[in-house]
Point group: C2
Chain length 108, copies 2
Amino acid sequence: MNTASAHRDTSVACCRALADDTRFRILEALVGTETCVCELVDQLDVAQPLLSHHLKTLREAGLVRAEKRGRWMFYSLDAEALEETAAALGGLARAQREARNSLEVCCG
Amino acid sequence: MNTASAHRDTSVACCRALADDTRFRILEALVGTETCVCELVDQLDVAQPLLSHHLKTLREAGLVRAEKRGRWMFYSLDAEALEETAAALGGLARAQREARNSLEVCCG
DNA sequence: TTGATATATTAATACTTATTGATATATTGT
DNA sequence: ACAATATATCAATAAGTATTAATATATCAA
């Protein structure tokens, strides 16, 4: 496994975690706040076991962190993973823009 | 449907299209070149019907454009959709960074 | 200790999507 | 017209994932 495909794996994994409406709403709800699951249940109107499941997916993708305090589990957004994914997509876009003048074409 | 959820829909749809290794490799292969399907078959070692299927997914997400010339169909990267998705993710990350000082916590 | 609360896990089901092989359509060259 | 090439579509299957209900685990309050 080379570096390029390792980076691709990371980006694809993050995009997969982001590719669900419920999970994206969770991330939006977590911006700027440490939030427990019961609060998310109220805010997002999603069943608790389903939330735990999606939060696990997000945690495995590195997009959120979890910290247990008392009987609550507090989730927070990890900006770094988001930034890396954004940079990967932005990098592709930029490379495309820069190459636009010298577009190769195959199969003449 | 309000603006916020419409934007979310767009981001989620793009992420879903990006959430597959084969499709991500297609996008990388398309950077700076207009490429036909047969060329992608060679470069990526993916079966032709599968490629057509994934290209359709990417086109529906707005990530690639298709143009028929002769018997070939040329695909190219659409930087705009990538930029919009990158901006959406980057925006979440930035909002999180900016709010870090004043982190709310629920459930005392 | 007992009951209540918060979260995670498990099992079952439904749904979506990736993949493959076969075939249809369109275009070009002979 | 015919054969060859390029691409798309279709049908079938396999694999993955979202969702729900039930249950387990952990913590706190009384």
